[in-house]
């Protein structure tokens, strides 16, 4: 086997172990029924394939689609994540640009500063926001969710943007200036279009986990906010309804596959 083929097989094996098999398990769970047992679902595979397959059904999906609250939570999660992604683009782009244009010797320091929050527990940082937003009267509002999401995901937006902006050839900007473009025009006609792949990567990296985000809406958004991540958590741990939680998770995954597929298609065309 050639080296490249070996690498490809290693990648497939990795994907199978860490992605395909867990996803298959979740899919199977979503087709099961709840049961008073440990683990709390049926059927469980006991060697009889026919009986096992007869026990599977799509009841959990019917429950998911029949209950307005799931559908609403699913739609509002997409909405929250979309708006938060836009906020992140607006906040993250200037930051990434400033970092990429900073003197070379400062850049490692700036990169370190962006990743510094990861050194502290995520939970503690969100609790800290509770004590900031609380006195401002913003706790348990939509604004608090946006603040929390934008804060938590900022590095995931900034780093891919920084990666493309830092690579940008300075002579392209000189060429634009040479051909009569002002610095402002140069940004809109050269820098921005060239950095779009980085913006798309950052947006995906933020949007996808934000749709399923559970901690931020739970701690900062209060009980009235509906997000699918929170509902899945409740179904799993409060209701012990694993099949419905898994069905919700499968729908979520299927939904998120759409933007990823579009991005891949665009990336290949470039």
């Amino acid at each position: 086997m050639r080296r490249a083929e070996q690498a490809a097989w290693a990648a497939y094996a990795w994907l199978a172990v860490f992605f395909a098999i867990p996803l298959a398990l979740v899919f199977k769970l979503s087709l099961s029924d709840t049961a008073l047992s440990l683990p709390p679902y049926a059927p469980q595979f006991r060697g009889d394939v026919a009986a096992f397959l007869r026990g599977l059904d799509v009841e959990a999906y019917a429950r998911f689609l029949g209950d307005r609250i799931y559908l609403d939570a699913w739609l509002s999660s997409l909405g929250y994540a979309a708006v938060a992604t836009l906020i992140l683009l607006v906040v993250g782009y200037p930051l990434a640009l400033a970092m990429a244009r900073a003197p070379k010797r400062w850049r490692p320091l700036l990169l370190g500063a962006v990743t510094l929050p990861f050194w502290t527990s995520f939970l503690i940082r969100i609790y800290a926001w509770m004590s900031i937003l609380g006195p401002m009267g913003l706790l348990n509002t939509q604004a608090a969710i946006y603040v929390g999401l934008a804060y938590a995901y900022l590095p995931f937006m900034v780093l891919p943007l920084y990666a493309v902006l830092e690579r940008e050839d300075a002579s392209l900007r000189e060429a634009a200036a040479d051909l009569g473009a002002t610095p402002w025009t140069t940004f809109w006609t050269v820098t921005l279009p060239i950095s779009l792949p980085g913006a798309a990567a950052g947006a995906l990296l933020c949007f996808i986990p934000m749709v399923g985000e559970f901690v931020v809406p739970d701690l900062l958004g209060g009980s009235r906010t509906l997000m699918i991540g929170k509902l899945i958590w409740t179904a799993f741990f409060a209701d012990r309804d694993w099949p419905t939680a898994c069905a919700a998770a499968m729908v979520l995954t299927a939904t998120l596959a759409v933007p990823i597929a579009i991005y891949q298609r665009l990336a290949r065309r470039r």
Binding site: L172, E174, A175, A176, D178, G180, T189
Partner: protein, 361 residues
Amino acid sequence: MIRFESVSKRFGDHWAVKGLTLEVGAGEFFALLGPSGSGKSTLMRLLAGFEAPDEGRVLLDGEDLVGRPPHLRPVNLMFQSYALFPHLSVAGNVAYGLKQEGLPKGEIAARVDEMLALVRLEGLAARKPAQLSGGERQRTALARALAKRPRVLLLDEPLAALDRRLRETTRAELKAIQARLGTTFLMVTHDQDEAMGLADRIALMRAGAIVQVGAPRALYAAPADRWAAEFLGEVNLIPCEGGWRAVRPEAVGLSKLALPPLGEVPRAAGGRGLQDATAEPASGRALQPPPPDFVWSPSPKEGEELKGRIVQATYLGDRTAYLVAAHGAELKAVQVNAGAPFAVGEAVRVSLPNDAPVVSR
């Protein structure tokens, strides 16, 4: 047309250009030639507006450009890396500068077509730079830089990124385009062949200053100093009164030495000169300057002709480069491959031109 007036530019403690004055005429194809760090690129960037001089003035048609940002200068630059916009097509790249001028759409399209025709890229207007060959990219960059009809076109190492064969054809094209448009071309290069093959006049630069300005032929034939002589090509520097004689290898004449008549034993007394001349140089084949006691004798007296022995012959297709041991020194010689080449070890008659220039430093 272009005038640099006592221009100085410093980066930190280093003077990239120091007190330099230079004039370039309208319609000239002018080359700034020098090794890296000679200040030639800085000079060009001063004209493009990417750098500001610390002292002096940069004039274009009598107008001082200092302080004017690059986007307001009537000059355009063809970048060494071409700096094509990767997200725009060939046509989009060429149209970019015209759009900044706010020309009407129809006029832009017409000008783009005209430029693409000029550089023979008509069929590739819709291609992205990544889909072009090196030569096509170079021509796109040229079309883009010429589209705005600049008063001066700056070319940064225009042929450096091309392979050798493409360089030959592109050189001819570039010269033809310049002749057709009559635009002033100011080129920067470290390659003396590129400068001599393209430019009407060359400014030879070193350490932020100009060493010599002149037509390629004049620079090659009469270098200002020893450094200039060596930078512009291979040269034999032969000590003489007041400095060195700079003899280009192709000016060194080699001819067959007549064989002594059969049966005649070479006489030791046959010529002191011959004995000396054909002796192997002391340090073998390594290139070395002639020893100080070598005396320049451009026109040997009869019976005292300069004789040498071929030490090395390098076949180069159209010509052969020789190293000839003569008078204890090694001379570089080049001969067009017309007849039979000389063999290593062969004794030859060496003739040196009487009119080789003397360089003093």
